[in-house]
């Protein structure tokens, strides 16, 4: 701060206001701005107007570093076992009065309660961080993998994704918790991550920009005023729980016809393969069933039916023609089986 007293030769009564940046945003006056107060005194001696007197006084606005990492969406990301490119979304907002870099790190929970109330019991794999480079509002091929946010301006935000893969073999209700940590860093040069920002230590110096770490978040285990902010999100598995049941019944035989038929040579036997999907899970899709006929049987041509239903444990005779048989192997596709429902593959053979 400087104090000066000066005599002005001109008769200007209103000294010009100080030339400083006038910010309109929450981050406030840009770090390094000089605030100058200029005061003017006019007076007379007797009836004679005297030369006005000016005085001014300046000081620097210092750097207040503050930013937030927050979870976007307020809900878990629902995933299937084996799914790749599963995304949890965060937003990083710089509320400092200066541009900063933000170093980013993605971590995973080891047990404990996750941010949307699940119990963490597995880890996702291949964890990477991306930013929504093309501002599409979602993770897509146009987004860039990053390890830090470069030159994040005061009062600006960037959307950041944690992207990973889900291992096979997980069940409905399994949860993987993830954490995104940001560390305020100097924005020294575009294209490279600057050093971690530290608060100015020792006595504050006039005419030098000092730094204050001002991020006050203490939620979810955050420490205030340490230049670090983190937030959590989670992935919850929604799997299909399929049970496959194969049953058979003798339909007719050459001797008894359809009345109490026996499994004797020449008899017709109907096989039913029922694919049941447990309730509360995901629909099962892309279902392929293959079944090898017993050596002593022959397929009854045209008897293969797909997408039939069951009543209790009995296969109904509904279903539409489909599937095929070749070399003693029946293969068929079934339509998607929703959670809590069953579809059947039914075919008939004759006993040699």
């Amino acid at each position: 701060m400087t104090r000066t007293q000066r005599l002005l030769a001109s008769a200007s009564v209103l000294a010009a206001a100080s030339i400083t940046a006038s910010p309109a945003f929450a981050a406030g006056t840009t770090s390094g701005t000089t605030i100058t107060n200029t005061v003017t005194l006019t007076y007379n001696v007797g009836t004679v107007a005297q030369t006005p007197v000016n005085a001014s006084d300046s000081f620097l606005v210092d750097r207040k570093v503050s930013f937030t990492v927050s979870e976007v969406g307020s809900a878990t990301t629902s995933v299937s076992p084996g799914e790749t490119n599963v995304v949890t979304t965060f937003q990083v907002t710089n509320s400092s009065n200066a541009t900063i870099d933000v170093a980013l790190a993605a971590g995973q929970l080891s047990g404990g309660t996750t941010t949307h109330g699940g119990t963490d019991d597995f880890d996702v794999t291949g964890v990477k961080i991306y930013t929504d480079s093309n501002n599409s509002g979602g993770f897509d091929a146009g987004d860039t993998q990053i390890t830090y946010l470069d030159q994040l301006a005061a009062d600006s935000s960037k959307t950041v994704y944690i992207v990973a893969a889900v291992p096979q073999g997980r069940s409905t209700g399994d949860v993987a918790g993830v954490k995104l940590t940001g560390t305020a860093s100097e924005a020294t040069a575009a294209g490279s991550l600057g050093a971690t920002i530290t608060a100015s230590s020792g006595a504050n110096v006039a005419n030098q920009v000092d730094t204050v770490l001002a991020e006050a978040n203490t939620a979810n285990g955050n420490t205030a005023y340490d230049g670090i902010d983190f937030a959590f999100d989670d992935y919850t598995v929604l799997a299909a729980a399929l049970t496959v049941t194969k049953t058979s019944r003798v339909v007719s035989d050459p001797v008894n016809g359809a009345t109490n038929p026996k499994a004797i040579p020449g008899a017709t036997v109907e096989y039913c393969i029922a694919v049941a999907n447990g309730s509360g899970g995901a629909a099962a899709t892309n279902i392929q069933v293959s079944d090898t006929l017993p050596a002593q049987t022959q397929i009854v041509a045209g008897s293969i039916k797909v997408d039939g239903t069951v009543t209790g444990s009995t296969c109904n005779s509904d279903g539409t023609a489909g599937g095929s048989e070749s070399g003693g192997v029946v293969t068929a596709s079934l339509s998607n089986v929703a959670a809590g429902s069953t579809r059947t593959l039914v075919f008939r053979v004759t006993v040699n």
Partner: protein
């Protein structure tokens, strides 16, 4: 020697005219809350060595009439710095302008234009300039006026 004295005699009155009859200074302080002697927080005014957006400032304007005559029509005018929001005068008797010093009045009497040709009462944040007037400051007398601001 006589010539030299005569020269000084010529020079001295000119110097007296050019001397500061009144002195004026501006001193900014930043308000900080610190733990006091009892551990309870106290508000102190410090030199503005560490100032960040949102902090409270106090500007002290000090004046003194060092001349031999009273100074009359004494008017101190201070335009609020553009990076500071005016937050009230500490010293009584201030009048305000919200239009850069063209018109003046008590804050309650001032209005600012809004959209569509309407207007609303002015608030402290609208003040562009603050001014104090004293009819006469006797020789040798002085004082200070001060006002508050907040760093934008």
């Amino acid at each position: 020697m006589k010539r030299l004295i005569a020269l000084f005699a010529l020079v001295a009155p000119v110097a007296a005219l050019a001397a500061d009859n009144v002195t004026l200074s501006s001193h900014a302080f930043v308000e900080k809350v610190k733990p006091g002697p009892n551990g309870k927080p106290v508000t102190v005014l410090e030199e503005p060595k560490l100032v960040t957006p949102g902090e409270k400032l106090v500007f002290e304007l000090s004046y003194r009439n060092q001349g031999a005559q009273p100074a009359t029509g004494f008017v101190i005018t201070d335009p609020i710095p553009s990076a500071v929001t005016f937050a009230g005068a500490v010293s009584p008797g201030a009048v305000y302008s919200v239009d850069g010093g063209r018109t003046w009045g008590p804050l309650a009497a001032l209005r600012v234009a809004t959209a569509n040709g309407a207007s609303r009462p002015a608030t402290a944040a609208d003040v562009t300039t603050v001014r104090w007037s004293f009819p006469a400051i006797p020789a040798g007398a002085g004082g200070k006026v001060s006002f508050r601001g907040v760093v934008k």
